[in-house]
Assembly symmetry: C2
Homo-oligomer: 169 residues x 2
């Protein structure tokens, strides 16, 4: 079955963005084979706030089908993505049951927590950047209960990035 | 020069204790040579809240000289430790200049942030436990500015603990 993978860069103290959404602390490591990584996925899943950041970025949707969770966006204004409102969890359940490549859960943290609570996220894969931010947008805010993980893969990059990939138990 | 090392267990999302001070999510790995680790240090540095937790623990001060930062504890009530009030940063400066083994900074996070801001902490050494807590006591709360790190050593333990040791730049 295809997996929903929360794949994200974080500071050592667990923030995925600075207090004002800053990403300037994220180190790009030339060792990382980004094309090979992207080839593992065919769908991007994200909340509205993350969607707005992705729209502004150079990288865009990386050729994938993009699904945005939002109660405020109007589908007719965003023909390039699928806007999902109330029944997002049902859609993720359907997507996981369909054949296809893996699904990249892009953020944000709050949406992660609600999907993880419904057992709809398979992995959390964090590239830990060599920085303490002290404040910012948390990796997994407002989980109702702690989630046990199993370390599945790890790699240390020369730039000092620790890539840790966990299965969510 | 001896170093001040913030050595702590944390969840993947950057908490050093649960919302009510819980430590039950911390995995002990028999692979870790605790005696060898303890032998690298001769002094424990901690805030008042951490001190109270250490007092209740079986491990205690592990044979080290213990220094507690507190404005409320009375030195006469705690003959087994050195209680430091207002001029804690000065004392840490003095300690670092004296010969001796390394100094284990035990917590809490807020005291870490204020000492790190004064450039009095040399390393942050985190044993990342395979868990997402979602809430709790942060690793480095209220840093006034982000702190860049340099990954110096790493080790993965069979229990799924990722030990990451950074120099604070």
């Amino acid at each position: 079955m295809r997996r929903v993978r929360y794949r994200v860069a974080a500071s050592l103290d667990g923030f995925i963005a600075g207090p004002h959404g800053e990403f300037d602390w994220i180190v790009m490591d030339p060792e990382i084979d980004f094309a090979a990584l992207v080839a593992e996925f065919d769908t991007l899943l994200m909340g509205r706030h993350t969607f707005e950041l992705v729209q502004k970025s150079d990288r865009g949707f990386m050729g994938m089908k993009a699904i945005v969770f939002s109660r405020t966006l109007r589908a007719m204004d965003h023909a390039d993505v699928t806007v999902v409102g109330e029944n997002g969890a049902d859609l993720v359940r359907e997507l996981r049951a369909k054949p296809g490549k893996d699904i990249w859960f892009f953020g944000g943290g709050q949406l992660f927590s609600s999907l993880a609570q419904a057992n709809l996220v398979d992995t959390v894969e964090v590239a830990i950047m060599p920085v303490l931010l002290g404040q910012g947008i948390p990796l997994a805010p407002q989980l109702v209960e702690a989630k046990k993980l199993k370390l599945a893969r790890q790699k240390i990059y020369k730039a000092g990035i620790a890539s840790l990939q966990y299965a969510i138990l």
